[in-house]
């Protein structure tokens, strides 16, 4: 048993509780502790990635209770990949936050660490109820982080976000317990075994449980028609929090991927791949409506929120294909969209700061202090997120279109992806034009706006540069995501977890 597996959970947990304990410590110390704990996740996650790269499943039995009786953490390629992603994203989001956003409310760093705890735990756990617990950890932290600073729009968006998710949590509990009531187990691999052998008498009930989970994950993942909370929430959140939230929707999609490949995957007998034909049209609608919303947005942050919705639709389309190609396209796109959206949210924060009271609103404002720098970053980020070359968004889109193949349903995808791309291009070019070209230079001189904090700019640029790295490293990454997708679709090794195989 490799104790490395528990560290992504343990590190933020200890850091978070220490930060609570030392809540009266001076800010620099809190920042240092928080940054250290956060950045330490990066080498850790990379080590885990290397560990997972051999394709073996690593199982960590908490409390030394073997699956399916105790809770296990399972490290596969997917989990490792997402851990790395989260580590990168949060490292820069936190770096950005540590330059001032963390003092706008109480306990930013502790909450941030707990947020990481929830996210990492959700990626690692192999137990469905434990997944619920980690969902709740990441949700409650996200509630608190969302309203960090307590301004009006944050509160309004917060109320919606929280209430919807509370209903979601109830549905999650019903779904999980229903599964337990029918199969008598909670371990996901064990569930897969038992669901596969379900008779006609229970299969519809198991399907109902699965769909309940789908609604919950769909809410977190912002799938139509459950996505309406997202633009307002992401637009209202403080920049580094919105950046971190770039991975939150992905957790919903991760859960869909996990549950609907493992439990309701291709070995689930009657229920095999039952969600896919629902997900496909929903994916396209989500994508399309997201693009329309991005065009409609009157505010930069809101536009970015809708671009997140677009990315959800795109990802979901890949997942719904259910093929190695589709899944690997989705996974590559996931890396891209998370990092770039994160970078763009940070950038939106930088831009809004320099536009004074106008903030991110897409109307003329005093000119930016650093139009060139921010403009270049925006240009790159927007191109990437819209999916134009030469950035990673294009490659992701390309992979997805190719994965769809050439047939009737692919035609819809092509139409939506390409049409949506054009709509987003129009929206993004308008936004860029307003933000960087219609600045009123005279007003800028009079209003004493500070230049962007260098570290904040570094944090933002670093995430956007990741888009280029994803392009340069496309080949090894694609190999990895392909292997990941293949691993997800080959359920047998997972099932071996509960047959006393690994440990």
């Amino acid at each position: 048993m490799n104790h490395l597996l528990i560290l992504p959970v343990l590190l933020p947990l200890l850091a978070g509780s220490l930060l609570l304990l030392g809540h009266r410590l001076p800010l620099p110390i809190k920042r240092t502790v928080s940054l250290f704990a956060c950045w330490a996740l990066l080498p850790l996650a990379v080590a885990l990635l290397q560990l997972a790269a051999d394709g073996e499943l690593r199982v960590y039995a908490l409390g030394n209770w073997q699956a399916p009786f105790g809770i296990v953490l399972v490290l596969d390629r997917l989990a490792a990949l997402l851990l790395v992603l989260n580590a990168v994203l949060s490292a820069f989001a936190l770096l950005y936050a540590a330059r001032g956003d963390d003092v706008r409310g109480a306990h930013f760093h502790a909450l941030f660490q707990f947020q990481l705890l929830g996210i990492n735990g959700a990626f690692l756990t192999g137990d469905l109820f434990n997944l619920f617990v980690f969902f709740e950890i990441l949700l409650i932290s996200s509630y608190a982080l969302l309203v960090h600073g307590n301004t009006g729009p944050r509160i309004r968006a917060g109320v919606h976000y929280v209430v919807l998710n509370l209903l979601g949590s109830s549905l999650f509990l019903i779904g999980v317990s229903l599964l337990y009531g029918l199969t008598g187990t909670l371990n996901m691999a064990d569930l897969a075994v038992r669901v596969a052998s379900a008779g006609a008498d229970t299969a519809p009930l198991l399907a109902a449980a699965g769909f309940l989970l789908l609604v919950v994950f769909g809410l977190k993942g912002a799938i139509l028609p459950l996505h309406f909370w997202l633009p307002a929430a992401y637009a209202a959140a403080p920049a580094p929090v919105a950046a971190l939230f770039a991975i939150m929707t992905k957790i919903g999609l991760y859960a869909i991927l996990r549950v609907f490949t493992l439990i309701y995957g291709n070995q689930a007998g009657e229920l095999a791949n039952m969600a896919n034909h629902w997900l496909w049209p929903l994916a396209l609608l989500t994508l399309g409506l997201g693009a329309v919303g991005a065009l409609a947005a009157r505010e930069l942050q809101r536009m970015l929120g809708y671009l997140v919705v677009v990315s959800v639709g795109t990802l979901l389309a890949g997942i719904a294909m259910g093929t190695v190609e589709g899944l690997s396209a989705a996974l590559y796109y996931l890396l891209h969209t998370t990092l770039v959206s994160g970078g763009l949210f940070l950038l939106a924060g930088l831009i809004a700061l320099q536009r004074g009271v106008v903030g991110g609103a897409l109307r003329p404002a005093p000119a930016l202090r650093q139009p060139l720098l921010l403009g270049a970053l925006f240009f790159a980020g927007a191109i990437s997120v819209v999916g134009l070359p030469p950035f990673s968004g294009f490659l992701g889109k390309l992979m997805l279109l190719q994965a769809a193949g050439v047939n009737q349903s692919a035609a819809w995808l092509w139409a939506v992806v390409l049409g949506g791309g054009l709509v987003m291009l129009i929206g993004a070019s308008r936004a860029g034009s307003v933000l960087f070209w219609r600045g009123n230079a005279e007003l800028a001189e009079s209003a004493e706006v500070p230049r962007g904090d260098p570290l904040r700019i570094v944090a933002c640029a670093a995430l956007l540069v990741c888009s280029l790295l994803l392009v340069f490293a496309a080949q090894p990454l694609q190999a990895y995501v392909r292997a990941t997708a293949a691993q997800l679709l080959d359920v047998a090794p997972y099932l071996a977890i509960v047959r006393g195989g690994a440990a």
């Binding site: 509780s17 908490l62 617990v133 019903i174 337990y180 390309l398 070019s429």
Partner: protein, 930 residues
Amino acid sequence: MALALIIALPFLGIVLPILLGRSGRSACALAAALAPLAALILLLSKRQAVFAGEVQIVRLDWMPELGLNLALRLDGLGFLFALLILGIGLLVILYARYYLAKSDPMGRFFGFFLLFMGAMLGVVLSENLLLMLMFWELTSLSSFLLIGFWNHRQDARRGARMALTVTGGGGLALLAGILLIGHIVGSYELSQVLASGDIIRAHSLYPLALILVLLGVFTKSAQFPFHFWLPRAMAAPTPVSAFLHSATMVKAGVFLLARLYPALSDSEWWFYLVSLTGMTTLLFGAVLALFQHDLKGLLAYSTISHLGLITLLFGLDSRLAAVAGIFHIINHATFKASLFMAAGIIDHETGTRDMRKINGMWRFLPHTALLAMVASLAMAGVPLLNGFLSKEMFFAETLEQHLLGSFYWLIPVTATLASAFSVAYSLRFIHDVFFNGDPVDLPNYPPHEPPRYMKIPVEVLVLLCLLVGMLPGLTVAPLLASAVSAVLLGQVPEYSLSIWHGFNLPLVMSFIALIGGLLIYSLRHPIFRWYEGMPQPDALNLFERGMHLLTVAARSLTEALENGSLQRYLALMLISTLVLVVVALSPLEALTGDVAMTTPDGMTILGFGILSVASLGTVLLHRTRLVALVVLGAVGLLVALVFARYSAPDLALTQLSVELVTIILLMLVLFFMPANTPSESSSARVFRDLLLAIGSGLMVALLAFAVLTRPYDSISWYFLENSIPGGGGANVVNVILVDFRGFDTLGEICVLAIAATGIFALLRGLRLPHRQTDYMGRLWSSDRHPPVLYALTRVLLPLALLVSVFIFLRGHNLPGGGFIAGLVTAVALVMQYVSHGVVWTQARQRLSYHVMAGGGVLIAALTGLGSLAFGYPFLTSAFDHFHLPLVGEFELATAMLFDLGVYLTVVGATLLMLANIGHVGQDGSCKEYQ
């Protein structure tokens, strides 16, 4: 490698002008020229191989599964275009050095310029179609930056966005087309694609692929009806127009026609789509060019027309026509670039581009005038100039095709007519600008000749026009030959570049065009009057209005859906759930399973009856909030009783304590809220909500019933068997909580601690007005802390602590545990706040709730961590029985320590919440409770 370097150099070169942006314009321009110059030298070093007909391909695998590789190709066509791009690019750099004002950020300009140049080189030198597409889109993006360079001007911003929208959108269509080609061929490598023309044309997807590719081509090359962006792109600085809108970007479209010629041409689809589009554009552009008063506008429409000509040539579907097309690409690039530069000089020196003001420039700018006139004559297709040669070939080819059947004459006639207009607008350019009397209201008067070096690029290009026009065999022949060979894959037809082909029909057509042009120009005044009477759709306004309508439509759709109503979102979520569950359950044959049902006793029926009624009561009474709250209290109690009834004492205990704290919280909050809920739902809304409520209720009831009547095979036996031997406790529920699934519990206390922390943060700085009167509208009682109450609660505190310890210690073996104990302690402490008030209580206790909450989590985590030291996984428990004299046997377990963490977290978190909410109504003098 050299090939890659040719493309890479401009990209790498971007840094130089940006770094030297403030070191003077000459230094900056020189820095900008370095990379293209090096690339040009590299390119020229390849000329011999290219002219010998070699096709050089370098390939580096990038994403082979995707078919996307770093594959480059240098053949005659690529060489020709690369030469144009680098050669004209260098000239434009020199020109721009003098054109741009001191105030213009030159470093940025050249940065964008080189970015575009690199992208353009990438387009023409790619072997891989996907790679080509990446560069293709990059040209659109960088041209957006260049057109919008003077972004303080609205027309520049709008023109840039329009160009990007049209060309970028076309690029997306092209992507689809290329993907289809790749699907058909199985490869994106040009070598393979070009060799698979027959397969492609035979494929059922060919028409679709062709249309998609042509969409990309036509948008980029400003073909009708996608031409409208090009005149608006004239808002760009003139060097940009000279480069992008004559020689390079707009040529990318026709380049692709040439590039994919072997793969896609030679079909009716191709012929009709390409030639008819080209023909329309040719005539349309030529006619409109005449009516432009803007110098650059005239040139823009002329460009559209000439691009139409080239397109038409590629559509004519004879190899010779393709030769003519390629030849005209070269010629158009040279004369149009020089014309743009000349126009730029005039604009620069006079301060306007309005030909109605610019007259008689011959006297002021004789040198420039001479250059411009030669170039204009080339544009008009006058003999001895390069335009004449390709035009003759064009006329000849229009006569050679018969695809339009009995309408075959349409093409030559259109060509002649367009050519006449071409003569007319060229004449206008010469006459109206350089002669035609005296200038009118020039912003800069009198204009002077520009700096010497600014004219060099024009001179070079005009010289080329002359040289090619007079000595084609000595100048352009090998270039053309290798390009043609590359396009036609070596199957080059016989063609002659001689100036004189004898008296033939094409020459007659040229003559007619010349006379016709003179005639049209001489009749210009009535024609202009007629034109001005016509409705003039402004493409930019139309486009802007279209975009505005699109945005408005997007907004109304988005706002209609996302209307900011939580109720709607919740309803959608419930509807989604119900739909999915109904679909899932529809195959269920019988709701009732195999397990026999049990008959309930009277007391149970009564209990459930009361529970149901009380639940409904909260709904019926919900408008009076406190009443509903009291009824909710009853529901909570009954739920606890249900737990107790069905043998779950731990649950009953937890439910009881949590429910009380929840009610207290609700009351604390209610104090700041209206006492009543208004009746505001429409009856339709109430009906919808009732439906959803009943649906959700049914769903839960059916699911519960179905499960309760079905057998299951649970893993619970393991917990029952191992609780004592493995976990050291008899209360299996507790052992699961602190041991088997201690990880869940750790998470759960984290949630609690985070919630408390979040609440603390939320409440910071919140001051809400005290409600001064009670529910009946009376002032609150002044007796805030009745002695009868506090006398008791102070006695109760130690008792409650004792009970907490009792519950805590029992937990492992009997109902109880850290959580319930924590809540009992918390409630006892809260009672101190209730009975004595915040100030009194706070003064008498020194606990930091933050420290308790954080410390609790930490203790639990560290307990789990302890096992790592012994090599066991996180949270592995240990317990043992010890014996002490007198005391006897007792058990110590790490699980107890873990439970202590739970206890502390619960106490800390609960009090952090409650005490701080209580603080909301206080005045600012009171400190928050840490």
